[in-house]
Symmetry: C2
Subunit: 269 residues, 2 copies
């Protein structure tokens, strides 16, 4: 049987890797991943054939994983976080789709049994480290304009603002790309208070983790790199301080509702 | 020391519970949860004091967890999925906030050390079971109008549609509430094709799991209950069939981009 596991290994802390993911790695002979992810997994990957392709060769990595699995090797394609969220799972199915459309010449891919195993994504690691930032409706937006036109991304940021979603920015900056995050901040400032709490979480759950809570108006791309998640609260998110401990949470409901109820009671009284 | 673990136990499959969550449960003497969640965890919860409050008593559950921890008992407050996503974590911090504002009279809560442990949420379990539905920008919307006015929810659905986000609906229906999902469908149909693939995932990763892929125009609240996740693809999401296996994925980028590039090449040629 020809098997490909498509595995999200979580944010970094080995204790946030699910047993299902671990068993799939153990069952595989061949691991395909960006090198850093395999380093994070450490001894779990010992004794396996490692196929490390650099950043930027995502399609090559998905193709190699399908090829290895099709050749009979039980293979694990691994991304950190959730491999289904801005990661490699989609590329596997894009290739499969191309094959089904007759635009690839790899009929052997169609015989591969594929199993996708989700993982804890950065936004979840970040929200949990500061409390409950994702406590109500939220969205994610990638600021990478490599495959999506910037107009489309800007349109999304406007709708995220107008819809008052908590917003997590993935790929907030890159080596070649640094201005989008400040533009995104300026768009959101049109819709929510300057004091809205923002989480800047770097290397979340890893040994060199850093967590900063700033206000939306103070969000600055210079404080953010490729290893950083930026999550912006909605208009009701609260930053609270209990001694040396800070938390950010987003309430379940809307104060407006209670205001309205109180007003109605006053009207009825 | 006074310790409260706030734990997401994942969608149901014990293999999707993280080791971090398991260790926290093992370290606790008292477990606070809706009974069904403890049933799902099975023998992991043996030998602990169970505090099962029914659905609807969410604030009472958070309050009890804080009280137990403050009294010196290492306590675990547990929700299925990610406890930070439409679940109990936010209530703990709402209560803490109220205490800090002087609106509660439980100063002992402020001495509780709180640790939030994220879990795999239903949207991730669902996306992974059908491929890579969350492969690009997405949002979540709760259709419960218990604490959020329906106008606010409708506004969000419009913006989710106009922003072309993949949309996961949490709390899509309840015993008393059945019409919102069809209204939500009709709103999204204003923005994306009738053929847009939709995942209807019930009891995801549990023994009685069922998974149906329908088109947006065929989405019907009668096929959905309280144990169901509904995720609607964006305008580019693809439903592909490989023999007996069906997949849904959302591409990383936008065809429009390529169309535009091709057009530009034609213009330049």
């Amino acid at each position: 049987m020809s098997k490909l596991f498509v595995i999200g290994s979580g944010p970094g802390d080995a204790e946030l890797l699910t047993p299902k993911a671990l068993k799939a790695i153990q069952a595989s002979t061949d691991l395909v991943a960006y090198g850093l992810y395999l380093d994070l997994l450490g001894t779990m990957c010992a004794g396996k054939h490692h196929h490390e392709l650099p950043l930027g060769e995502e399609t090559g990595r998905a193709r190699l994983a399908l090829d290895l699995a099709a050749s009979g090797k039980t293979t694990a394609l691994i991304s950190s976080g959730d491999i289904g969220i801005y990661a490699m799972a989609t590329l596997v199915f894009e290739l499969l789709d191309q094959q089904l459309l007759g635009k690839e010449n790899h009929p052997e891919w169609l015989n591969v049994e594929i199993e996708v195993i989700p993982g804890i994504s950065a936004m979840q690691a970040g929200a949990s480290r500061v409390g409950a930032l994702l406590g109500h409706d939220f969205c994610t937006i990638s600021l990478s304009d490599l495959l999506t036109p910037w107009d489309t991304i800007m349109n999304r940021i406007h709708h995220a603002g107008a819809g008052d979603f908590v917003v997590s920015f993935y790929n907030p900056v890159s080596k070649k790309r640094d201005w989008q995050l400040n533009t995104a901040r300026d768009i959101l400032l049109q819709y929510r208070p300057a004091q809205t709490p923002v989480l800047i979480g770097r290397q979340l759950t890893r040994p060199d983790e850093s967590i900063n809570i700033v206000t939306l108006e103070k969000l600055d791309a210079r404080d953010v790199d490729m290893f950083t998640l930026v999550s912006v609260g909605n208009s009701e998110s609260r930053h609270i301080v209990n001694g040396s401990k800070e938390w950010v949470y987003t309430p379940r409901g809307y104060k407006k509702r209670w205001v309205r109820d109180t007003e109605m009671q006053q009207v009825q009284a």
